[in-house]
Structure formats: structure tokens, C-alpha cells
Amino acid sequence: MQYGVDERGYYGQFGGAYIPEMLFPNVEELRVNYLDIIESDDFKDEFQHLLRNYVGRPTPLYFASRLSEKYKTKIYLKREDLCHTGAHKVNNTIGQILLAQRLGKSKIIAETGAGQHGVATATVCALMGMECVVYMGEIDMARQRPNVERMKILGATVKPAISGSKTLKDATNEAMRHWINNPDDTHYIIGSVVGPHPYPDMVARFQSVISEEIQNQLQEVEGRNAPDHVIACVGGGSNAAGAFYHFLEDKGVNLIAAEAAGLGISSGKSAATTALGKPGVLHGSKTILMQTEDGQVVEPYSISAGLDYPGIGPIHAHLFDDGRAEFFGISDEEAMLAGVELSKLEGIIPAIETSHALAVFGKRTFGSDEVIVVNLSGRGDKDLETYIKWGKY
């Protein structure tokens, strides 16, 4: 596998496990056990059962005829927005909580940006009766308030991250510190394909159900099991990793990643990591990182809390470096317009993260007989306040 993780935990030059020794026993325990556990029949049965009966999988692959007409191509939407809790994040939290149980852990911590991963974690903790603490940047708590309340209703404790930029990066720092302080009974459910090995691979595997279903569903409607293009937004990159997963080695499938350009790539208010970053280490892995000359992490900006992160998962750093995926920087404005467009054309209000993927249609043309799958990673309920504030609909 050219694009899978290697034995040392790397994707090309990216990945690894850059963690303080205090976290080594926990991460090593995961590394040694994760494949055996997730490939065991008992795990697979329970995972599949919950994905079907609790999450509502398989999610539809919906042919968006009016959107297709507008852009003169064939667009399918993979409806992760219809997952229980409203985004793809729950695929991963179900997988990780089953794993945590098998490792004998009783407490769960998580970080969250938009609050979708926090909600998905709080949800599975309620389901399994496990204690749950979610770290969330203070700024994100304000702009994603409904999700803060959802987590509380579900019984989780939400702790504000008040250091640095007070967003996803800082929530991740706090969760890692919490794990250092509580190594014995706690599992850290990371919400994207970031963090030290084996997290990026583990999360990608749990999300890979997305592309597995796309293969089967396309076969039924198009008589082929692979599209010409897959488009997904990239914050850390978990929905993209899941949507790309089974097509990574098939060069006939073009992979397209949409990053948040905020107010514009060179505005100084952006989160377009591949455009602005260079190789560096953050949160346990070597990846592409927005940073100063001196190696200090730059505080990112995006209208979308879920994409407001200065790095990307190492798998995406490798896909970028290798030229395997096309990357587009999508501004706040372009994303909001694309979100409203989908709402009016298809009756689906997408999450603002997802809107970044939809905005690719304004950036690039596609052939009229090409088949495109957009991963509709989440729904826009949580973003109503942002839509309202923006106002142009």
C-alpha cells in the first residue's frame, strides 16, 4: 500500500508518535492491540450492529439532480449528515469506545472543535454508561453553543480550553494534558486522523465504512464501483480519509480535498494548511503545519469551527506531498454561498465544514459524464446562528 500507514507508523515522511514519555505506555498499549481488537469477530459484530441499528448505516448515496444540472456533471452526495448526531464523527466514536472497553478503560476524554465530535463522544459514553469529559476552546463554545448544551444533556462535562487561540488546537492540548494526568483508567477518543500513531490509522479505519458503502452503492446505480472524483472537506481530515480510503490505491479515482481559507489564503486569517504550512510536529505527529519561521504554531482562522485547525492528518500531508490529491482553499464566503446553494437546490442545509467541499464546484470544472461523489459530512443544524449572522440567503 503506497498510501496506507507503514510499520513505523508513517505515511511517507509524515506521521510517527512524537509524544512525551508519560503518554508512551498508553499509546503503546493502543498500538500493540488496536489491529487485533478491531479485526476480531466479536468487535466487528458489535461495531456493525451499532452502525446499522444505532447510527443508521448505510447512509444513502443520493443523486443530486438539480446540483448536477447546475454544474453539468453527475454529482452524488454521500449522506453522512443523516448519521445519528448529524455527522460522520460518530462512526469513529463508536469504534473507539468499543476499543476502550476492550482495553478495560472506564473513562473517556475528547477534544472538540465544532462540537460534533464532542457530541458524538458524549453520545456513545451515554450509550455505554461511561464518564465523559470534553475539552472545547472557549471561542468554539460560544459559536457552537447548541452543541455545548447537547453534550451536557447527554451527561458529559464540557471543559473550556482557555489557552492560546482558544479553539480546536488548544482543546487538543488540554485533552492531552488530561491524559498525561490520568493515564490508568482513561481512553482519549481523538476526533480526527491526527495525533500519534496509531490514531490516524485507527480513525481512518473506523471512517472507511464511508468509502466501502460508496463502492457498493455506486455499483448498484452506476454499474461501477468507483467514481471519477471524490470530494471532501479537511479539518484534521477524518471524513476525507473515510471517503478516500478504499480508493487510495486506485489512481483512476481523483481525490479532492477542500481546506478552509478563511478570509483568504494570504489574509493572515486562514486555516489553509497545505497552502500556508510546512513540515512540522504538532499533537504527536509529523505533518504539514502552519507555523512561524521559529517553529511556533500559527493560530488559524475559519468561519467553520471544525476546520479551524493549523495542521492536517499525516495521511493528507502525504497525499498532498505526493500529488495524489488535489487541494483547494475555500474562503468563508465561498463556503457559505455553497451551503446556501445546496439548501435551495436540494433541500439539504449542510454543516459549514461540508460547505467547503461543495464550494469546489465553483473552483474547477468536471466533465459532463464524470461521476463525482461529495462526502456530505454533516448537517447544518448546529450552524444556524452562523448562517443567520452571515445573512445572505
Partner: protein
Amino acid sequence: MQTLMKNRINQLFEDKKDVLNIYFTAGYPSLGDTVKVASALEKAGADMLEIGMPFSDPIADGPTIQDSSQIALESGMTLELLFEQLEELRAHVSIPVLLMGYVNPVMQFGIERFCESCEQVGVDGVIVPDLPMQEYLETYQSLFDKHGIRNTFLISPNTSEDRIRQIDDCTNGFIYVVSSSSITGAKKGVQEGQLAYYQRIKEMNLKNPQLIGFGISDHQTYRTACDYTNGAIIGSAFIKQLSKDASEEGIENFVKGIKEKSS
């Protein structure tokens, strides 16, 4: 690897027990304070110094060191500037000096250039908590050795005996014994489980000396560390001192308070 020339760190442990190693953040409380604080610490009786290279995202540090790093960065501290400041280090300071920080700024500076700069200004060792052992052995060690820089590894109560032996094998300075499962600055005091852990380390008869750090804040916690190992490392407690009073006298009283029992 075993034929490295002795450096100041090795000499210190040959000559002394009850080593007191004090951490402070470069460029704190004021940007130009780095060498001033170092020199005051030596005068006050510190045996070794650990100068923090501030990083924006210090995941192993508690609020005290986070805040001092943030302040130093906001004042304009960079690795480039730090090495400039340290050019006069050895005119004022003769005890061993380590640089402590996270791997990303070192990587951006360039590993080889970093090692050369350390050698040039007279830095004896480094502590980079998020640099994995494997990575160190594969790409860093030969450069560190070439420039006579000692790398320091951390161990925690959850580190397995095998791994401690492995760390002992690839170290040539000292081993940093993290006192409990925690980030820096935690106030857990000395707990019973902790003494058992110190005893276990002591009985391993490691070839490298050891210093206990994290949560050492006063004479008593320092003495406990000395009972089991070669000494202690103080960080957050000293940063708190600097934030209140960074004068030479304030620093002297702080170090005295640690070393001597108050009457």
C-alpha cells in the same frame, strides 16, 4: 557511543550529590533576562540549569510554564535570539546548562545547526520531551554525539522496566525521573506510591545518574528526591518566584530556601 568525552554534566555527577537543577523559561520575565537569571542562579548555589525554549503548544506543561512561555514568545523570544543571548553564557556561568523544549522549533531551526549552536555557546545537554527514542536513535543521536550534546530522556511511574533499561543504555548524561503521572507544576505532594516508585528506580542500579522532577517545590520535596536519587529538578515553583521577584536577592533566597532547612 560509550567513548564520548566527559562533559560538564558527567563531571558534576562525579563531584556532587544532591544536585539541584533549576528550570526557567528563556526571555522570562523580560526578554533580556536569560543570562542574568542563569548567572544569579549559579551564584545562589544551583548546580545545573535548564533553560526553557518557549513553544506555543507545550503539552507536557501546566499553566505556570505555559504562561511564562507565552509571555516570552510575546516579548519576541526565538531560538535564533536565544542562541545570540547565550553567546555570553560562558562568560558568566560555569555549571552545566541544558536546553529544554519541544521538537518542532528545533526541527525548524535545523537539527545540525542546533547542535552546532549548542556546542558553540557551551550548552551541555538537551531535554526534548516529545522527541521519541526511536527517532532520536535513527536521526539525532549521531549529530548530538558529534557535538558533545547529551540527550535526556524522561521516565514516569508507568514506564516499564524494559524501557527504563533501554533508555539507560542510550543515555550518557542523566535520566529525568518524572515524579508522578502528571504535567509540570502539579501539586500532588509526596505520596506513598511515589516512594515505592523512587525505591524501585533506586534498586535498578542504573548506570546513569537520575534527577527527580515535576512537583518539586520546597526543601522537603527536594530532600526526598535526594534520598532516592542524585537530586532534583525545580521548574514551576521557580517560575512563580520569578513572576514575583526576579532580583538577584530574590533568586538567592529561593535557592537557599530549597537547599537549607528553614530554621
